[in-house]
Every structure is written in structure tokens, then in C-alpha cells.
């Protein structure tokens, strides 16, 4: 039976069929759905959300060393967090087969950079595979498990957004049960003290030679002979774009196993074709290695190494062809940036924080990054997970040393705090700065599509569990000044900021209210009481001051002709922020 599946769904299916026992991940676009899909096989697979990618990779490595087939998944920048265990796992190898999935995001659809993680495979000296559609994604997970066990290596599976989130047809198979391998204590393999690591490095180099031989022999790297004037070397989604443009008018060396590269196969291919194009997305990972073999090829001289590739770019870059398009004045189209949702608890928070003078606001990664956009404009920086707290600390130390009169407010989400904000906050306490850390606890991991986390009280597979208590954690880290407030009440926010700005010691404000889109859990229903109804503007009373509009709520519309605001009752969830900012009390709650 064939099913139309995304690459992520296909990977979960492939992992299931490959008999894996354990999987762990931290959610991150475009990788998130892999674990969500795997979580459904409760009987057969343990699937977990880890607090961060390092923990996910280490847990999966633990499962592998114990003898299980295991998988860890993360977005490209997540592998930076997991880089420490990644490199040493390259030395230890595995017991049960282990696949590490990195989902890169060319085009930065939902990321802070577009790093090309193929270099990690070369850097960490592990095997790498790259699928170019969902069927390959499924098949390759299964093959990767075998490669991992045969060569005693971690296998890095590199995906990109268009492989993860494109659907194509996949043949559904059966699960093959694979028993756990026995675990035996083996210091020379898993106890990576310097003397052991020294010997393991020798083995790693030997393994690479064996893997290169495999790379030349495997069907994952295959040649399609057509016209030999043009020969294309490609991998991943870029191969599909090349096929789209050149069809049968070129020969192809399609690479599915890309570290180490199949040197002999590349040489053989090069001998028979006249001109070689290397078609790859982002960096010249293959091209550089082909050129190092002394083979002439055309790649990044013509194809850009920035942003997402598509068939149009391949065709224009290599053939000089431009498609005819409809000509019109595009400048009249108004920008449509993403916004915080109607009723989002982050909106009131940033609205109030944005009023503070002499303040530097360090932000973090999540929906609340949008607090830095118009019209809230309440953020100075966003770098990576957890950086808000540590960046703020660095700034505050200098502010104190040079008697600057500014204050730093660090803003971080609940899941991001668990991910890597806790160690940063420990630094604030340990090294004595007086930053104000605000934890926006919206009771869920929001941006990636509502995943549970250590604070929600539920696991990925739906079991109830201990609910991490943020105020207690913060106090245990040594912060003595901690307040929890309801962000939908502007006066509570204002009082909390006044209080924190007056302190000479570090403080934490926990802004606690569920994401407006969250399906409330039993715990949430007990804790959060909603007043039903939606907000409505009395057109007689409205003076057109735009105070409500300046909250950036997408449910509020300002009519330039009548100079009055109005509220879309379909979008409004009745959070009452606009009611609080209206200076003439023109907004009230109606209905239900």
C-alpha cells in the first residue's frame, strides 16, 4: 500500500519498521513531527521530548550503548547544542544501531541561521546519508540502522525543510522486530578517557576507510546514464531540482551516502561526461571535495550558496534560461509579516515592557521573538536558545562597572528556560549581576506547534508526570526575588517591573498564562479562569487615539475614514488587553 507522507512521517515509519526501541528529540522546525509520529507506537517504541538536543542525543546514545536501536532528531541549530556528545559518539561508535537526524532550514523559513550541517559529518567523522524524497527517507532510516551496526558508527541523516515538509508517495511495510543486543561493559570503547580516546581515534580513521569503500559500492550512490555532454552530481532535494530542469538530457551521479564520498565512483563518472555540474543547496560540500580530486566542475560559481534552491534558480544559473512571468506592479502589495495571535499573553507583556525607558531587552527563541517586531518593538537581541539570560548578564556586568544608568531585562520562554536558560541564570547569581529575567510561561512549547515540556505535567506519549516548578527552580538557583504574575493584567505587570527595577540583586518575573491556541490540560482548566465573551468597541465613545491598535492585536482594525477602531469578533478571544489600554473606556466585553 502506498501513502502520501511528509519526509518526517516517512522517517518515523521507517524507524518503526526498522525495529527501533528508543527515540528522543527537542522540538524544532522542520524536524518536530518525526517524534510526534513515533510517539504513536507506544507499545513498541519509547519516544520522548528531552529538555534540549544535547540531552536527546545523550539519551539516545545511552539506549544504543545498552543495545537498543535508537534515534535522536533535531533542527540544524540543535546539533550545535548537541555537538559535544556528537563528536565523542563519533569515537565510541554504537552498540544498537543509532541514527541522528539533523533537519536543516535553507531559506530560514523558521530559523536564525542557515548553516549546512553536512560539514558536521565530515568534522565528526561519521557516516552520512541524505534522502531526496519521502520514500528514500523511509528506506534510508532502515539502511542507516544496518550501516550503523555493521560499521560501528553513528549515522547522521541530513534532511532539509523541503524533504521534511514535502509529501510524496511511500510504500508502507511491516515492522521487523530486532532484539536488544547484549550490553557488555567495555572500557576501551565507552570510557573515553584520554588514553582510550587516543586508541579510538585510530579506529575512527580505519572506519572511515571502510566507509569510503562502502560508499563506492552501495546502491545509495548510483549513476543514471543519459546524454554524456552534461554530468550532474547531486544529493538531497537538489537532485530533484536538477532532474526537473535537465530531465533525461544529462547523466546523473545521485549521492545518497555523502560522507565519506564515493571517490572512485566520482572519478569514473567524471571520465565519461564532458562537463560536470555539482548541484547542491547551500554550501559547496560536494564541490570542494570533487575539486580536491583534481576534477573540474561547475557549482557555486553559478549557483548561489545562500537561501533556498529551486528549479527556477538551477535553470537560470546553469542554462541561463528565464521563465516568462506576468508583469505587474508588485509594489502595491502590502507586507504581511507574522504576528502574535489575538489573545496571546506575550502581547500584554511586551506592551508594558516596551514603555520602560533606559532599558535593553535581550530576547530569545520562540513565538515571543515577535515581541521585537512592530508595533511592540520591545527587544534588542535574539541570538540562540538561552542567550537572553547570559547576554543580559554580560551587559549588566558592564553597566555596573561603568555606572551606566540603563537596566537589562532578559526575556525567555518556559521551554527555552528548561532548554538552556537555567545554567545562564545560575551564572547571573554566581557572578552577581542584577538582571531582571522574565520567564514567559505559556504552559506549552508554542512556536513548534504545542509540544509538552517538563513544565506541562505530561510526556510526549501522554503520560502524566512531575510538573517542573519554575519558581522553585529559580529559587534553588539562588534568585531570592521571584514573582509570578498574570500578564493579562497590565497593572500586575507594571507593579512587577517597578519592583524589579528597584532591586540591586537579580530578580525573576514569571509571566504565567496559557498560549491562546493551547488546548487546555486538566491542570490548566483548574488553574486558569476565563471570563467568556469578546471585546467590542463603542463607536460613539471611540476617539480614534489608536491606543488599542498599537497593541498589535490582529483582531483590531482601524478605519482611516471614520477614524474609529473595531474588533473582529471571530478572531477576538476576549483577553481584555485593549479594554485596559483604552483611555475613554470605549471597549467592553459582550456575549455569552
Amino acid at each position: 500500500m502506498k501513502k502520501l507522507l511528509t519526509g518526517n512521517e516517512a522517517i518515523a515509519l521507517g524507524a518503526y519498521e526498522a525495529g527501533i526501541h528508543y527515540a528522543s528529540a527537542y522540538p524544532g522546525t522542520p524536524s518536530t513531527e518525526i517524534l510526534e509520529e513515533l510517539a504513536r507506537y507506544k507499545e513498541k517504541i519509547i519516544a520522548e521530548w528531552a529538555p534540549n538536543e544535547k540531552v536527546a542525543l545523550e539519551s539516545a546514545l545511552g539506549a544504543s550503548i545498552f543495545g537498543a536501536r535508537s534515534l535522536a532528531a533535531m533542527k540544524h541549530v540543535g546539533l550545535n547544542v548537541a555537538a559535544d556528545p556528537f563528536f565523542t559518539a563519533g569515537y565510541t561508535g554504537v552498540n544498537g544501531g543509532m541514527v541522528l537526524i539533523t533537519a536543516d532550514d535553507p531559506g530560514l523559513h523558521s530559523s536564525q541561521n542557515e548553516q549546512d550541517n553536512r560539514y558536521y559529518a565530515k568534522f565528526g567523522k561519521v557516516a552520512m546519508i541524505e534522502p531526496s524524497d519521502s520514500q528514500e527517507a523511509k528506506d534510508m532510516v532502515k539502511i542507516a540502522m544496518e550501516i550503523s551496526e555493521e560499521f560501528d558508527t553513528l549515522v547522521l541523516m541530513r534532511l532539509t525543510t523541503r524533504v521534511c515538509h514535502s509529501k510524496s508517495l511511500v510504500e508502507v511495510g511491516e515492522r521487523k522486530e530486532v532484539p536488544l543486543k547484549p550490553y557488555k561493559k567495555n572500557l576501551m570503547k565507552y570510557y573515553v578517557a584520554p588514553a582510550v580516546a587516543k586508541q579510538l581515534h585510530v579506529k575512527v580513521e580505519e572506519r572511515l576507510k571502510r566507509l569510503e569503500k562502502f560508499s563506492n559500492e552501495t546502491d545509495l550512490n548510483y549513476i543514471e546514464w543519459n546524454d554524456k555532454k552534461i554530468g550532474i552530481i547531486s544529493s538531497g532535494i537538489a537532485y530533484q531540482y536538477a532532474k526537473e530542469v535537465f530531465g533525461n538530457n544529462a547523466s546523473y551521479l545521485k549521492l545518497g551516502f555523502t560522507n565519506p564520498l564515493p571517490v572512485d565512483k566520482i572519478k569514473k563518472f567524471a571520465q565519461e561526461v564532458e562537463t560536470i555540474y555539482v548541484v547542491e543547496e547551500l554550501e559547496p560540500f560536494i564541490e570542494e571535495q570533487v575539486k580536491a580530486l583534481g576534477i573540474d566542475c561547475i557549482g557555486k560559481d553559478k549557483i548561489p550558496n545562500i537561501w533556498e534552491l529551486n528549479p527556477e534558480i538551477v535553470e537560470k544559473s546553469l542554462l541561463g534560461n528565464e521563465r516568462e512571468t506576468i508583469k505587474y506592479d508588485k509594489s502595491i502589495v502590502v507586507n504581511r509579516p507574522p504576528t502574535l495571535c489575538a489573545g496571546c499573553p506575550h502581547r500584554a507583556f511586551f506592551y508594558e515592557l516596551g514603555k520602560r525607558k533606559n532599558t535593553i531587552i535581550t530576547g530569545d527563541i520562540g513565538c515571543y521573538t515577535l515581541g521585537g517586531a512592530e508595533p511592540l518593538n520591545a527587544m534588542d537581541t535574539t541570538i540562540c536558545m538561552g542567550a537572553s539570560v547570559s547576554l543580559g548578564h554580560g551587559m549588566e556586568k558592564l553597566i555596573n562597572k561603568y555606572n551606566d544608568d540603563r537596566r537589562v531585562v532578559s526575556v525567555i520562554g518556559d521551554s527555552t528556560f528548561f532548554h538552556s536558560g537555567m545554567t545562564s541564570l545560575l551564572d547571573v547569581v554566581y557572578n552577581k549581576s542584577n538582571t531582571i529575567t522574565c520567564i514567559l510561561d505559556n504552559r506549552v512549547t508554542g512556536m513548534t506547534g504545542h509540544q509538552d515540556n517538563p513544565g506541562t505535567g505530561y510526556t510526549l506519549q501522554g503520560e502524566t508526570t512531575k510538573m517542573a516548578n519554575i519558581p522553585e527552580i529559580v529559587k534553588a538557583l539562588g534568585v531570592e526575588h521571584v514573582r509570578t504574575i498574570n500578564p493579562l493584567k497590565l497593572n500586575e505587570l507594571k507593579e512587577a517591573f517597578d519592583w524589579a527595577y528597584d532591586l540591586d540583586e537579580p530578580s525573576v518575573i514569571i509571566s504565567r498564562w496559557p498560549c491562546a491556541l493551547k488546548r487546555l490540560s486538566e491542570y490548566d482548566k483548574k488553574e486558569f479562569k476565563y471570563v467568556p465573551g469578546v471585546c467590542e468597541v463603542d463607536q460613539e465613545k471611540c476617539i480614534g487615539c489608536k491606543m488599542c491598535v498599537n497593541t498589535g492585536c490582529p483582531a483590531i482594525y482601524f478605519d482611516k475614514e471614520t477614524k474609529k477602531s473595531s474588533i473582529d469578533e471571530v478572531q477576538c478571544v476576549g483577553c481584555e488587553l485593549c479594554m485596559q489600554v483604552c483611555p475613554v473606556k470605549a471597549i467592553s466585553k459582550v456575549g455569552e
Binding site: Y241, K243, V334, C341, C367, G552, I556, F558
Partner: protein, 191 residues
């Protein structure tokens, strides 16, 4: 041999473009086509401009297209059609919903929603204008706007022979099947 066709569905995050694409793809698979579909998740979904691409034929390679490559552009919102019009083949078709969703700069009164968007599109391409909002309202649920547009798309692409009833039944909750079937038919009739 069936040449690969490309459908570009665009709209605003939350309008249900992904569900419409899912049903479209399911129907095409059932009809025996090779199908690829591409969608975007994450940050862009928060009220931003969104696009989904569906490609079908004997053998489809790329799941996405570039400018000047779409056979049909289905826009769930008027201004979005103009944003994406350069992706349409010059002889391609447009199905556009006569429905406006002001974006943030417009809501805040900083910019105006452009005048005469639908007229510009009509003057540039073979266009069917659908008032999916009115139809959905008549049917009693604004959310079925996406299925009205799907019906219009199916008619515009000459795909009426496929078993769409099954595709809809397989992809929506049971209690919404009837209203979605009606919405689909009304969309077909509107072209």
C-alpha cells in the same frame, strides 16, 4: 504521458490552505497520479503569508516551483493573489477568493489595503473570482471557505471526474463531512 501540473495555493496562516491541499493531493493519488506536495510550518504560520504547492503527473521530481511555473494559482485572499501572481505561467489560471484580510500594517492604519486588486488580476490573467465567504456564510460555517475554493479549483483544472467525496470524507471529521461536501459542490458551481 501526462505532463506535470503545478498548483499553487496561497493565503494567510490559519485559512486552511493545508487542509485543502491535503484533500486535493489525496484525490489526485487516488486517481493514479504521482503527487508531491510542499507546505511550510513554524514562524510563517502566525498570521503571515503562506503557500502550499501541489504537483501531479506521471512522475514528479521537484515538490516546489519557481516563478512563472504554476498552471493555476488559488488564492484564499485577494491581495495574496497579487503577491504570488509572478509564480503563474503567463497562460495560467487564477482562482481568487474575493475576500480581504488586512495585514498588520493595514490594521494599524499605516498602509492602505491596495485598491482594485481583483481587477488588476483579471486584467493580467484568466481569472475566476469566487465569493467563498458569502457561500460559506450561507452554509453556516465560515471555516468551509477553503473547501469552496477547492471545489472551484477542481473545476478550473478539469479534475471533476475524480472521487472527491471520498477524499473529503477521508480527511475531515465525520460531523463536518456534509457541510464540506456542500461547500465543495458550491465551489464547483461557482466557476
Amino acid at each position: 504521458m501526462a505532463e506535470t501540473k503545478s498548483v499553487l495555493l496561497v493565503g494567510v496562516g490559519g485559512q486552511g490552505t493545508i487542509l485543502a491541499s491535503k484533500i486535493l493531493s489525496a484525490g489526485l493519488v487516488e486517481a493514479g497520479y504521482d503527487v508531491k506536495m510542499s507546505e511550510i510550518h513554524g514562524m510563517a504560520q502566525r498570521g503571515g503569508s503562506v503557500s502550499t504547492q501541489v504537483r501531479y503527473g506521471d512522475e514528479v521530481f521537484s515538490p516546489i516551483i519557481g516563478r512563472g511555473e504554476a498552471d493555476v494559482l488559488v488564492s484564499f485572499e485577494a491581495m495574496e493573489a497579487l503577491r504570488w501572481l509572478e509564480y503563474l505561467k503567463p497562460n495560467g489560471k487564477v482562482v481568487v477568493n474575493d475576500y480581504k484580510i488586512p495585514s498588520a500594517p493595514i490594521l494599524m492604519g499605516k498602509e492602505d489595503y491596495p485598491e482594485g486588486v481583483i481587477d488588476i488580476i483579471k486584467s493580467k490573467s484568466n481569472t475566476s473570482v469566487i465569493n467563498a465567504a458569502n457561500i460559506a456564510e450561507e452554509l453556516g460555517n465560515m471555516k468551509v471557505m477553503n473547501i469552496v475554493l477547492l471545489g472551484a479549483l477542481v473545476k478550473a483544472m478539469d479534475l471533476s471526474d475524480i472521487d472527491w467525496e471520498k477524499a473529503i470524507k477521508d480527511n475531515v471529521k465525520e460531523k463536518f463531512v456534509d457541510i464540506n461536501l456542500k461547500a465543495f459542490q458550491r465551489g464547483m458551481d461557482a466557476v
